[in-house]
């Protein structure tokens, strides 16, 4: 961990050097530094949405243009410069807010392309809304050109951007983004309300882009649509961030410093084909170092440079092994009356013409462990998805401890007390074990913890589940069993009333299965967690379940004890086919 300390102490020296520029260099150095700072603010603010949340916004530059225009329009009407700059940032933020609603319905490549289309769209709007933007004429500004002041503002903006990056790495908000980056659905079922989070980071990045745009308008003294919305310049800051290394705190800075300098050197030393050389560099990085320059193996051999490339992971002091006397969370109350923890009535889930779940009803009392069985395709996981609101049931009702889940979002349902694991484990892959669990602790409905405390507490959950020795291991490098254990620990950390466990035993050795059963038993006995367990392995179920529910082709075949189920002829037919000839 010393490495990152080194990097984080030395890299700010770049900004110290930057602060000295107006006093040390000629105005050329100043002009060059201004272009670097502007690019840096764009690149760094872009990476919040991309590196942290996993959304590639190719139209980031559009907000730069919005800020530039807002500033220019107001300044040309006599508004003071500071208000103009603030207005630029604000206008960009509001634009981002409005665009969030349509844009975040998209993911991946579609999101990238929709955002890319923003640039020509804004350019056309700027060309044609001539009453406001003066169209192709552009807006000339007669402002005092106080270069040093302008530079200082840009530097301030750059430092603020760095501060935000640091904050994101160490804050609850940042954790939400990292969870979203890995797996949005799981983030939701862990209690994170994802849309406002995405919207917020989008607005944050746009505000900085708008700020940089406003300053650019001031600097140039003139803007017109191609200058601020042109496709030819729009991808450059993004290429710079990717070049250095997206997701790393110093990635964009390295990218800006190197590519910005290369660009300038090419322009002044190469008589022709400068863009070709530039494009070649970008292409080679894409081909050979797509993780960015900072992530190359060669770089990692040099201690200082390796420290630049360290992904930020929060850690907790290694666990001493003593679980401590306090329980992990206050056990679910055992109610005196026989009120149900889960009441499923006539749930139907249709996909097109196919009813995956067809009129299933189920009543579960607190503290019960129910086994849910049935052949493949019988609707078990779909039922889980209905209960946790991954799907909205076509009809029927689901009530959790008296609360109807009818119009609830996934994160609301998680807050009400439903936790789940998945058939194929879905941990937050690029985060460590401790971060995975801590996220559940931070965002749960019942008594959510402050993130620093969450990191400490997470260790206890890990220890409880048996992976206390792997706290700093990246989740996607764990073995299958450990991933399943981690999922369990993460689900338990939500302090659920009801835990949905989906085929956790498949792929495990009998010893590992026993270990799991012990965990489930502890969850029920010590913490009053009600469990529904989907499983094929009957002997495992037999050790713990109170009852079995059998599904087949979406309908409930029977409900009763394991012995009854196993001996039921219809169940046998469902599993083995009619005539029951297979043993």
């Amino acid at each position: 961990m010393n490495g990152s300390v080194k990097a984080n102490t030395l890299m700010p020296l770049v900004f110290v050097a930057a602060a000295a520029v107006p006093f040390v260099t000629q105005s050329y150095g100043l002009a060059f530094s201004i272009s670097l700072l502007s690019a840096f603010i764009l690149a760094q603010s872009w990476d919040w949405l991309d590196g942290k949340a996993g959304y590639t916004n190719l139209g980031h530059f559009a907000f730069f243009g919005v800020g530039a225009y807002a500033f220019a329009i107001l300044s040309s009407k006599g508004v003071a410069i500071y208000w103009g700059i603030a207005a630029g940032a604000l206008a960009a933020m509001i634009t981002a807010l409005v665009l969030s609603f349509p844009l975040f319905r998209l993911r991946g490549n579609y999101f990238a392309f929709a955002t890319l289309a923003l640039l020509p769209l804004f350019e056309i709007l700027a060309f044609n809304l001539t009453d406001i933007t003066k169209g192709a004429d552009g807006i000339p500004l007669s402002l005092p050109r106080q270069i040093n002041l302008l530079y200082g503002l840009l530097l301030g903006g750059a430092l603020a951007a760095v501060a935000v990056s640091f904050w994101l790495d160490r804050s609850r908000f940042g954790f939400a983004l990292k969870a979203i980056r890995n797996d949005e659905q799981v983030a939701e079922t862990s209690g994170i309300r994802i849309f406002p989070m995405k919207c917020a980071v989008f607005m944050l990045g746009s505000a900085f882009a708008g700020f940089a745009g406003a300053i650019q308008a001031w600097y140039l003294g003139y803007i017109d649509p191609p200058t601020v919305f042109g496709l030819d310049v729009a991808l450059i800051p993004i290429a710079m961030a990717l070049f250095g290394g997206s997701g790393l705190i110093w990635g964009p800075l390295v990218g800006v410093l190197i590519l910005g300098t290369v660009h300038d050197l090419l322009l002044t030393h190469l008589p022709v084909l400068q863009t070709t050389a530039y494009g070649l560099l970008v292409l080679l990085i894409g081909r050979f170092l797509p993780g960015g320059l900072l992530r190359t193996k060669l770089l990692k051999k040099v201690p200082f440079l390796a420290s630049l490339a360290q992904e930020h992971h929060d850690f907790a002091p290694s666990f001493s092994g003593d679980l401590g006397a306090t329980p992990l969370f206050s056990p679910n109350a055992r109610t005196e009356d026989a009120s149900l923890v889960l009441d499923v009535q006539g749930v139907v889930m249709r996909f097109g013409g196919n009813a995956a779940v067809n009129d299933v009803s189920l009543q579960i009392k607190p503290g019960e462990v129910i086994g849910l069985v049935g052949p493949n395709g019988s609707g078990k996981t779909t039922l889980f998805n209905c209960i946790s609101k991954v799907y909205e049931p076509t009809s029927g009702s689901i009530v959790l401890s008296g609360q109807s889940l009818a119009s609830k979002r996934r994160d609301e349902v998680a807050h009400l007390g439903i936790g789940r694991t998945y058939q194929n484990p879905r941990p937050f892959g690029d985060l460590t074990v401790i971060e995975n669990i801590a996220i559940a602790l931070m965002f749960r409905g019942r008594d959510p913890l402050h993130h620093k405390q969450a990191l400490v507490e997470a260790g206890r959950f890990a220890e409880f589940a048996g992976i206390g020795d792997k706290l700093s291991v990246r989740a996607d490098t764990l073995s299958l069993q450990d991933k399943k254990v981690l999922e369990f620990a993460r689900a338990l950390a939500s302090a659920p009333k009801l835990l949905l466990v989906d085929e956790v035993a498949s792929g495990l050795t009998p010893t590992e299965v026993h270990r799991f059963i012990a965990l489930l038993r502890a969850a029920r006995d010590q913490y009053g967690v009600t469990i529904i367990w989907v499983e094929h392995i009957f002997w495992a179920l037999a050790e713990i379940v109170d009852r079995i529910v059998v599904l087949e082709s979406g309908t409930k075949l029977m409900e009763g004890s394991i012995e009854e189920a196993v001996n039921n002829q219809r169940v046998q037919e469902a599993y083995f086919g009619s005539k029951g000839e297979a043993a």
């Binding site: 272009s35 140039l220 310049v233």
Partner: protein, 407 residues
Amino acid sequence: MKLSRVALLGMAAAAIAGISAGLASSASAAPRTDKCAGPITFGTTISATGRNSTLADRWVKMTEVFETEFNKDGGIFIKECNKSLPIKIISYDDQSTPATAVTLYERLATGDNVDFFLGPDWSAVSFAVSQVVERHKIPTVMSNASAANIWTRGLKYIFGVQSTAEGWSNNYFEMLKGLSPGPKTIFFVAQDNLLTKDVVAHFSKKAEAQGIKVIGSEVFSPELKDFTALALKLRSAKPDLIYIASYDAPALPLIQQMRQMKVKANGVHEIMTTGKLIRTLGKDAEGLSGELSWLPGTKGDYSELIERVLKGSDVDVMDYLWTINRLNAYLVMMQAVERAGTLDRDKVRDVLDKGTFKSPVGPITFHEGGISDVPAFTTQVQDGKAVIVAPPPVAQKPFIYPSPSWQ
């Protein structure tokens, strides 16, 4: 190898300082110490790549040839030094981007330490660069920067040679006055661009003042490829004259589709009828009238030098319509320095402010704010070739109206 933290810090700081210093002064010339030594340096940027490169890419070579030819002719005589000094023009590619141009002019000012500036071109770039020019108090003669508000800010060190909207089609409209029967109606079509819309605004008024009724005015985006809608509007309006204010490339599909849609008129005018446009249109170009800043073969001051330069760099002014403005900017600056007799920037500036300078198109004087105007000749495509039809002193052939090709 374990380095102490202090050592690491020191190394890092040194590295950063070194890079900044290096950048600030890389390949720079030292500031001029001896007023009479070495070549007189002029710094400029040219849009060799990017959006405007279609208008200017050949000018890089042209500038080099200008430097060679001008030096062959003897350079500039500096009275203060009592000798002639050669010139050297340092040029960079601004990629048609204002922000890049600003950084490059800063570099020319304090990195390359040039004596004077030339250019740049185009309103957006010039607007941004004008502030750099003014801050460093280095006079420049810009070219092709026609936006009026560049010149109304009271800047002292910028001067410009361009074809402004006001002067553009003056000769054409004058010529129209002499036609009998004259045109009664006119339809304006403008590309969505500052200059072209300015031209239309100005000449709409002039048309009305001459008694030609404006029956339509449309604007189109330069990206537009399908002009069916526009052609239909033109066809149904049936104007006497169709006046198109557009750069040549966007006008190409427009005129082609006007022909296909059988749009008819007595005369069709395109303000930038370049050689490229005429060649690509082929038969469709017949009868098209337009404007040209200068034609080789026209006699005037320095015309021989200019023809040598154009030939040596293979620049056809019929294709690169804005060339003469840039070359005139060079000529004016050279004359100003010689007239001042010194390399003192303020003295040169004063000379630019008050003087009249020679050029192949006639005398150039800078009006209020530093702007000057270059009148354009009116041309018409007759039998596949562009000929000058106005003003009368230089006309090669008479103007054909109504144009049979367009009826």
